[in-house]
Symmetry: none
């Protein structure tokens, strides 16, 4: 019988400590939903009371299979657990589980907290007991445990025993400053178990300051710990936390873990982990790292000629796991064969049938490659990919021609002496031989100006003659901008998500050194995609 390992995600709390990361409530809900879908056991949502976003998240969070967990700290000295307002705010989030961080390193107790060692033990005991009495599953995060154990093992263990005896379900050994190497982690976890904290109540929380957080977590499991805390993509303070996106495939697929342990993550869910990893980058507006273990775009890329030819004979020669098992794909730059069958599959998904060996396939592949080199991203912008393919196949209708556009943004004082901004766009198109001029500004209902792209979008969608009624239910739902490398110089890549009244959602891409040009290109593709779907019925 495999033993159960528990996975605890702290992307929404420790992950938010990453420099430059600040999740909105909506983003937290999106990430929590993805974690829940994976089969993570605990989702730590934030520290209620510490900032308004975290409190709002717990108020709005939908029910989940995962145990939603609020983070906080042990009560302060000189007041009871019942009267500690910080602790009360944590409990008021009404989550089934609560994780409290507390000190276990004598130096920190005396230097940072400035209280006696006995007071700190009592803070741990009373806080855990209070949460348990409120019916919550209670976790104790033993901050700086490894440094504390090195400095004063008796005291560090006394803190853990206080949490254990007060009823903590999990006692989590935290390598808070990331300085403990895997060998040391394994040794200390074994010592803790020998000292009377059972392994099935022990968790591990590592940081990547020596680039060994994943290995440190594995060493703790080998030594007997049964809960792993980590984050998606290794997000987290400084160098990040242990990366669950690397750990989960290792635990499910690799010796000696596969078979020996089981987690809440099914093989079906595992096949979505690449998608989950990229969703997080999307939320953060980051380019996914190609080199990421298991899920990176290069993780199964075989550049060396020797490797690529061996892969064709037997993939197991250079792949330690099947890329499909983690939802990733093999990539062989040299292999036109693999490229073409891949391409045909993508075209079929877009409803375009092309016979194997059709010379258009090679032309489309070349075009995609050339344009991706200029900065386009067709993986994301499926609708633009489809428009490109249709053009190569001679299946693209023009619908209308854009003759010119002009957009202006002006900021100045109004008659009340307040600075105001106004954007205005003019778009000139030719439809059925007729020239149509449209002008729009971009003031919204609150009187604030939404900017030049909004004005352009409105002007473009204002009068497309006989196509107008088809695009009337279309609207812009997201707009992403990235500076990227186009050949030798920096260009702007704009990705626009559009939606319509039929519930469809599609993405298009534009690239230019000029952000307005890039945006207009993506807007045009979006309108033409919609027309290519719906205008046929009218024609």
């Amino acid at each position: 019988m495999p033993e159960r390992l528990y996975l605890y995600d702290t992307t929404l709390r420790d992950g938010q400590q990453t420099q430059g990361v600040q999740f909105s409530v909506a983003e937290k809900m999106k990430i929590a939903k993805a974690l829940d879908g994976l089969g993570i056991d605990h989702i730590e949502g934030g520290w209620p009371g510490a900032n308004p976003t975290d409190s709002a998240f717990f108020d709005e969070m939908a029910p989940s299979c995962a145990t939603m967990t609020a983070f906080g700290m042990t009560k302060r000295a000189g007041r009871s657990a019942e009267n500690d307002d910080v602790l009360a705010a944590v409990l008021n989030a009404n989550t089934p589980a609560v994780c409290l961080v507390g000190k276990t390193h004598d130096f920190h107790v005396e230097t940072a907290l400035g209280i006696t060692l006995e007071e700190n033990v009592e803070n741990i005991r009373a806080s855990v007991a209070h949460c348990v009495a409120q019916g919550r599953e209670t976790l104790f995060d033993a901050e700086h445990f490894f440094d504390g154990y090195a400095a004063n093992p008796d005291y560090a263990l006394e803190c853990l025993r206080a949490a254990r005896d007060a009823g903590a379900r999990w006692i989590v050994l935290c390598d808070t400053n990331g300085g403990t190497l895997p060998y040391g982690i394994g040794r200390v976890v074994r010592a803790v178990i020998e000292a009377g904290i059972p392994g099935d109540r022990l968790g591990i929380h590592t940081h990547n300051d020596t680039e060994t957080a994943v290995a440190g977590s594995l060493a703790a499991v080998e030594a007997g710990a049964r809960q792993i805390q980590g984050t998606l993509n290794g997000l987290g303070e400084r160098c990040g936390n242990a990366n669950l996106v690397s750990l989960i495939p290792t635990l499910l697929l690799k010796e000696p873990y596969a078979g020996r342990y089981e987690t809440g993550v099914s093989r079906d869910a595992l096949a979505r982990i690449t998608q989950v990893s990229r969703m997080l980058d999307d939320v953060l507006n980051r380019v996914p790292l190609k080199q990421l273990a298991y899920v990176g775009a290069s993780a199964f890329a075989h550049k060396a000629g020797l490797h690529a030819s061996a892969i064709l004979k037997d993939p197991s020669t250079y792949e330690h796991v099947d890329p499909a098992s983690v939802g990733n794909e093999r990539f062989i730059p040299m292999s036109n064969q693999a490229g073409q069958s891949n391409l045909r599959r993508r075209l079929m998904e877009a409803g375009i049938e092309v016979a194997p060996g059709d010379p258009a396939l090679a032309r489309i592949l070349d075009k995609v490659k050339a344009r991706e080199n200029e900065g386009y991203a067709y993986d994301t912008a499926q609708a633009s990919f489809e428009m490109l393919a249709r053009a190569e196949l001679g299946q693209a209708a023009e619908f209308f021609e854009v003759k010119r556009y002009r957009v202006s943004v002006e900021r100045r004082k109004n008659k009340y002496d307040r600075m105001v901004t106004l954007s205005e766009a003019v778009v000139v198109v030719k439809i059925d031989g007729e020239k149509k001029l449209s002008v729009s500004e971009s003031m919204d209902e609150t009187g604030s100006d939404r900017g030049p792209i909004n004005a352009l979008s409105k002007a473009l969608g204002k009068d497309l003659g006989r196509y107008q009624e088809i695009i009337d239910d279309m609207h812009l739902v997201d707009f992403k901008v990235r500076i990227t490398q186009g050949g030798t110089e920096a260009v702007t890549r704009v990705i626009i998500d559009s939606a319509d009244g039929q519930g469809r959602r599609w993405s298009t891409v534009g690239v230019s050194p000029n952000i307005v040009d890039a945006s207009f290109e993506a807007l045009l593709d979006a309108v033409r995609w919609k027309l290519s779907r719906d205008a046929v019925a009218l024609a």
Copy 2:
């Protein structure tokens, strides 16, 4: 007496297998020089004969302290080592050392090479013996050793013994497909030593396919191997090789390695490792990853308020090593997680002294929190944070007032019937009571239009009267845009990185529903920050 560990760098060979990486000869020379300056023992320069760049590199390479090493493969079956032209090309590079890769996995010998197991052993023996006879230090890279040992340990060991008996100085166990976890690596290395290959002739070569390449290398050292192969920044095929930039500080600074082992890297050289890591990113034209262990810009960044206040009392509380030891710096960003102590620390770094308990601290914190809630991001945009704080403290000079601006983008056909885009901006400022109108377009030297933000930046920087000469050495180096939640609605956040002739680099932020407004706000902050630093001397 500490034992000597040897470091072998393969950035120029295995690192070049990274998707998208192709070094020029000049780049290879630059990287080799940096490696040599660090005190690396062996520099593997490439595979002479396999491509023209690698051959040219060996021809042109300057003398080095490191042992320059040419990579190649064992001779093919059916010819003698003396008559193998591939092997001859490797020897013709005239390097003091040669590293030959050969098969040790029976499956690969029979499937990929299609020769008998005995022929393969003879290829290893004869090739190593030939190089040794030519007076070269010879290394044998045992490809797929860990998979081979798992499948057929006797055969895998027989291959190693052939290399040992033929006089190979180093026998390197390669985990070619990256699938072996640290625990497995340690176990196999111990078995190999017990089977008669001495540890001081054993090297380890790992890949990061499970995000454990660094830990795998350390496990091999703990088991007795004495050479580590890796690359700068973990460059390499698929997920990369073991990252020497993480391994070197760990070996020099961390228990149980520091003191027990010594390498060719001095403490002085270690203090340049951050610089070496960033030099490689510079060669690759990549933005350095902030989260890198030891050398990343976030490696010593302390965002959580609790951590920052402890750091002020004693840096060792949240730092496992001194950032200066690796040439990196502590950084305490502003964000809505932060407390007053964090804030004071941050202000001090900006040269602003505020007494503890000063009521301005609370006002600044409130303002930062409110603005971050609107979408601003002050932990990235330090210069904007500083301008905000100076304004609250009444220390902000106005310098000039912006009366209005206007920017337009027009796309239309030119006289040659080609679609072209032109951006134009007008900025009106008032300086010392005098109104100044400036107009700019944004055509670059190649004739392509760089867009409205570029035009605005040029117009704003065109005539600032007596401040003009101060901002003349300023330029825009990066521009990041994201759509974020500002209160209840989506807004655009723009972060601009600027640089000047004194080598300073600073970041500013602007937020608005209108991307042009947001950009202009960030541009203004950038100019004012520069003036607040340099204009005082003139006043």
